[in-house]
Amino acid sequence: MAKSQELSVQEKKEVAPKEEKTVPARFYVPNADIFETDSALTVVMEMPGVEKKDLSIQLENEVLRIEGRIDFSKYEELEPVYAEYNIGHYARAFTLSNKIDQDGITADLADGVLTLTLKKAKEAMPKRITIK
């Protein structure tokens, strides 16, 4: 099904922050998919150009905060002549509704896509009730 569909361009959205940044540069919102299974919550985010070492993931007060930074020194000797997208760091935060096992978070970065798997805490797992 997906194969027959023409892929369209998604405009990058700039971050509209609650708190202001101290730096003037622009941040963008990474496109994200979020899905849930019985045992875990998975967050998948597109952050092209971000390397592992420039990624920060924090979970505090049930707010998951992800920031990815671009190493733009690669662009130093390049003179732009035509542009269709802008380059910037990525930032996004989610408030999590389920209790998450803080030690059970795994992150994987591949081809510019960050996959975060957040294991649910035991008490947040759905319990199956058997009818007698």
Partner: protein, 141 residues
């Protein structure tokens, strides 16, 4: 005298402003541009040569097809998302599908020397100008 900026954030801001300046410049307009607009590209000049950079997050190298002929470049491929069927979806923003885009750049490219790199979801094409296409300076007799 241009200021030397050592502050990396200032440097990023300058890059962002430079890109803004080149945004949808009518640079590619003179040439018919393929059937699609994906992936979005930025074109840079580096001396005589050109560098085309595209954001292709989540696309495997094996799913990318790059062709260069003369001054035409074709980027085609497919982006697929594979998620487990059992999951319930809260948010879906990423798109999947196929793409096929052709662009022409105003120099003739030495197709044998083109280098393509795909790392962290960024595709970079280094397009060296063909030797015969390079400008020659004429000495006045």
């Amino acid at each position: 005298m241009p200021m030397v900026l050592s502050d990396p954030f200032e440097a990023l801001l300058n890059l962002q402003a430079a890109l803004e300046g080149a945004f949808r410049a009518n640079w590619l307009e003179s040439s018919p541009s393929g059937s699609g607009a994906y992936p979005p590209i930025n074109v840079f000049r580096k001396g005589d040569d050109f560098v085309v950079i595209a954001e292709v997050p989540g696309i495997k190298k094996s799913d990318l097809d790059i062709q260069v002929h003369g001054n035409a470049i074709r980027l085609a491929g497919v982006k697929s998302l594979d998620y487990s069927e059992k999951a319930s979806v809260h948010r879906r923003e990423r798109l999947a599908g196929r793409f096929d885009r052709a662009i022409s750049i105003p120099i003739e490219v030495d197709a044998d020397k083109v280098k393509a790199e795909c790392r962290d979801g960024i595709l970079a094409l280094y397009l060296p100008r063909a030797e015969r296409d390079k400008p020659r300076s004429i000495k006045l007799a």
